[in-house]
Amino acid sequence: MACLHDHNCEEHDCSSDWSLYKHIDLSKVSALNEAVSGSVKSVFRAWEQRLNSSEGYLESNEGDPELIVFIPFTSDVKLKSISIVGGVDGTSPAKMRAFINRDGIDFSDAQNMQPVQEWDLVENLQGVLEYQTRYSRFQSVGNITLHFPDNFGGDTTQIHYIGLKGEATQLKRDVVATIVYELMPNPSDHKTRAETGGGLSQVE
């Protein structure tokens, strides 16, 4: 299990760095333009298994190389870098655009919006390349949407592995569900203990 990085792997364990896949909420992962519904879930694995796509991989529909992958996390994470293993024969994605903490992005949204960061990818069949993020912008990521607009000329786009490197905080972004605002206070809602039990204080 040799790491082909140019650092000395004995100092740290490579696989533990790429362990953000444990914090992905797999049931809510979704993709647009995937040929087989649900195949996107097989793309998140441990670092050692990154080249082992026996359980399936993500492929786009025939003749259409665009893909959108929506990845929600179980808690906020700080994302340091991303690694993508594509397919052979020009089916690897060529560009990647990332959007953070937005729900329900589809292709027209993705094409019109400015991404938080965008990368030009190269064919990375051994999974040794990582694309670093502008860390300051990826400090509290509740979910991330990756848009792959085109590939290296193949008929479809294939993605065999998506690796995420970073740290997970234990915080969660809570969406405020229901708030009741008072336009004018209703005194009956604000009875003090003194008022109900007798006493000098009053609520005006």
Partner: protein, 403 residues
């Protein structure tokens, strides 16, 4: 119970004046739309439905996806017939309306009523279909009204481009005696949901066919939805409870059988050795579960041969068999209660052990124990003195209290 947002595209072009569907195509279409809205909102209370018209002056959204059935039905009033249907624009506007739905978790679905001829070519329609598929929008097409070969081909091509995993459907409804809505009830457009849709559909079908109120619980879901919902929920709860009870009963029945078999085994051996072998009660007092298979086999064999009272019911048979021996009966009663592991049982046991005669009779029946043995005698004496001491102690405080 799929969570879904649906946009229904209505054809209100000039071709809808025709009377080949009763009373006219437009009215038949409106009835079908009402039925679909009802089915969708019933199958999942969070489903939303919206409506737009494709002809007239242009594509117009009458109501954006909402779960308010009243609003949807109200907007169907006062629609005017005229103009030409614009299928491509209609579908694209529907897609836009779905894109801006409030709850992004809902699946997107478009239902198109195509009554007039389709003027777009196949290529354009296929392009639209592929775009829908890419954005995971499902499409249901109701092909009625004008019939020509081209129209069917184009619509089939559109469906093929959209279809992803059989989530999209097409239905061809030729003009005939049965109403458009009746034909649609049995199609996957209604039943595609699974249970919820078909429940409503079955109720509606029964109402249509039978007359009065063939609704599920005799309550019209439209008139009183809360009552219908309450009835449905309580029915399901009842069903779940009955299933749990049935399961429990089955378990208990199997346990009882086991227990009965053991008791019949004891019983059979009792009838065999009524007077002689009183070590049985001791065995029984220990644990019923201990001496399993051998006894069981023996008992079964014996109960096969034995014509006397070795049948099922525990208590009565036991008392019959051991009517002779008073001690045995006591022991039997003890063993019967032993399964429950009663507290009082324990004290009974202690009392019995303290009872001199009982102990001696048991000891007499034990093989290898001679009551005349000095050790045994000492033991008995000590036990007796202990019990006497206890009695004296009890008496003493009582006497003091009396004083």
């Amino acid at each position: 119970m799929v969570l879904e947002a649906t946009m229904i595209c209505i054809d209100n072009s000039e071709w809808m004046r025709n009377g080949d569907y009763s009373p006219n195509r437009f009215q038949a279409q409106a009835d079908a739309v009402n039925l679909i809205c009802g089915a969708k909102t019933q199958s999942n209370p969070e489903n939303t439905v919206g409506i737009l018209t494709m002809a007239g002056k242009g594509v117009r959204v009458l109501v954006t996806p909402t779960s308010d059935l009243g609003k949807i039905l109200a907007c169907m009033h006062g629609l005017e017939i005229g103009g030409e249907m614009n299928l491509a624009a209609g579908i694209q506007v529907a897609q836009l309306a779905l894109k801006h739905r409030q709850n992004k978790k809902q699946q997107q679905r478009i239902i198109v009523f195509a009554g007039s001829p389709v003027k777009y070519d196949k290529k354009v329609l296929e392009l639209i279909g592929r775009k829908l598929k890419k954005n995971s929008v499902a499409l249901d097409i109701v092909n009625f009204g004008e019939e020509d070969q081209e129209k069917s081909e184009k619509l089939e091509a559109l469906l093929a481009a959209v279809n992803n995993n059989d989530s999209s459907h097409i239905v061809h409804v030729p003009p005939g005696p049965s109403a458009l809505s009746d034909v649609l009830i049995s199609t996957p457009i209604f039943t595609g949901d699974g249970e919820g849709g078909s429940g409503f559909a079955a109720a509606a079908a029964a109402a249509a066919a039978g007359g009065v109120s063939g609704f599920e619980f005799g309550v019209d879901p439209n008139l009183d939805p809360e009552l219908a919902l309450a009835l449905r929920v309580s029915m399901e709860e009842e069903r779940a409870r009955q299933e749990a009870a049935a399961k429990k009963a089955a378990e208990e029945a199997s346990k009882q059988e086991k227990g009965e078999q053991q008791s019949t085994s004891q019983d059979a051996t009792m009838t065999d050795n009524v007077n002689a072998d009183t070590s049985e009660p001791e065995k029984k007092t220990n644990d019923l579960m201990d001496d399993e298979n051998a006894l069981l086999q023996q008992a079964l064999a014996m109960s096969m041969d034995d014509s006397s009272s070795t049948v099922a019911v525990r208590d009565t048979d036991m008392s019959d068999a051991s009517a002779d021996d008073h001690d045995l009966q006591l022991a039997l009663q003890l063993s019967v209660q032993d399964g429950a592991a009663d507290q009082s049982n324990q004290t009974d046991m202690n009392k019995l052990l303290a009872d001199q005669s009982f102990v001696s009779s048991i000891l007499a029946s034990l093989p290898g124990v001679d009551p005349n043995d000095p050790h045994v005698k000492d033991l008995l004496a000590s036990m007796q003195s202990q019990s006497e001491q206890n009695k004296e102690e009890d008496k003493a405080p009582k006497e003091e209290e009396k004083k």
